[in-house]
Symmetry: C2
Subunit: 231 residues, 2 copies
């Protein structure tokens, strides 16, 4: 288990869009320039990780050595959701090398925190480096180990959960995950279209739960949004 | 301008899913049965309006007589978003016959309010009937007339805006719409894929605005999510 603390990092303006004149500041001042510098560091790192992921995953035959990152549009979507619901505490299951973690961390406020669990130490080390390079360590708590144990080190109530790990664990963990999700909170599950068969039992469990409402969104590999009714 | 008030209506559990055993209650009691009855009324009405929309729009050649409703998955997605961001005040531009309004109203709490603007009186009358049939009149304020005038009757700050109207008005209205959206609020724009060319100038305006972040979601006709940065 590694707890990281580092310097504060400024919130982003659509770091991933990178398309055209929209990136220009309307009002130029010191804060905006600082933010742009942070934008640029994050943007470069995200692009670097996307290239690394494509290159590696195309040739790597061992599944545990593939990064299996979310797509960029999924990252943009996740970040927007985290901001729009005003989440300050996020739980991510499946850090990999931190690509998705960067998007989540970019979306929480300065005082926010992303708790992210990864069972592979090598990937967690890469993630730590990437999170530090982005200057986001103050917003991220990394937990390394089996998710069933690591979960007990996560705050009792989280605002958003992002689920992108070993899918055979989703159903066994469903009770514990939704118990940690605040009433009125949102769980997002990746691969809901690309690997629909592997999460079918988990989806059936959600459907049978009176307090949960779903929407399947065809962004990236398919994002299943699950809302837990407010009390 | 018509202000509607009616009996309270209970919040929904995914009214649109309607698929399988998941709809069963886990704990049966009076409230759950009341909610299920409301679910059933809304569900039947939504299905009826979907059939009407398909039938009418397939043969109707006059654009202003077509309903041009959002798709069901868009309705489910919108309702989930409204709940997840905890919106109590929603502004809809383009009521049509109220199909989307029903989804939005199903997602706000009892004390919440959807303000919806429609310039065609005939459609607004149909919407009023549908909203009353669903028992949702207490949650909906209908405004009938030109959106440029009607906007002044909308609360100064709204949590969510759903934009599904004459697209040539989006850019001229952009300033006023985003001024009414709370900091930290969400605007959703329909037809962002199906009629991408018609909103291109509006999208460029959003891109040029430092306080706005976008994500394009390929649900239904394409939903553009625009987040206004918290202050």
């Amino acid at each position: 288990m590694a707890l990281q603390r580092c310097t504060a990092w400024h919130s982003l303006k659509h770091p991933g869009s990178g398309n055209g004149p929209g990136k220009d500041t309307v009002t130029e001042h010191r804060d905006a320039r600082t933010m742009q510098a942070s934008d640029s560091i994050l943007e470069n790192l995200l692009s670097e990780l996307e290239a690394l992921g494509s290159r590696n995953d195309a040739v790597q035959t061992q599944k545990d050595k593939r990064y299996l990152n979310i797509t960029r549009d999924t990252g943009e979507f996740l970040a927007l959701l985290v901001k729009a619901v005003g989440a300050t505490t996020v739980l991510e299951i499946g850090t990999s090398n931190g690509y998705s973690t960067l998007w989540l961390a970019s979306a929480v406020p300065d005082e926010g925190q992303v708790h992210t669990i990864e069972h592979q130490e090598a990937k967690a080390r890469e993630a730590r480096d990437n999170i530090e390079r982005a200057g986001m360590a103050s917003r991220v708590t990394q937990l390394v180990g089996d998710v069933r144990q690591a979960l007990s080190a996560v705050p009792e109530t989280v605002d958003v959960i992002f689920l992108d790990a070993d899918r055979s664990l989703y159903l066994p963990l469903a009770d514990r995950l939704f118990a940690r999700l605040k009433a009125g909170g949102l769980l997002v599950c990746d691969n809901a279209i690309s690997l629909e068969r592997e999460i079918r039992d988990f989806v059936a469990w959600i459907e049978a739960n009176e307090a949960l409402t779903m929407s399947l969104v065809p962004v990236g590999k398919g994002e299943l949004l699950v809302y837990k009714e407010a009390e």
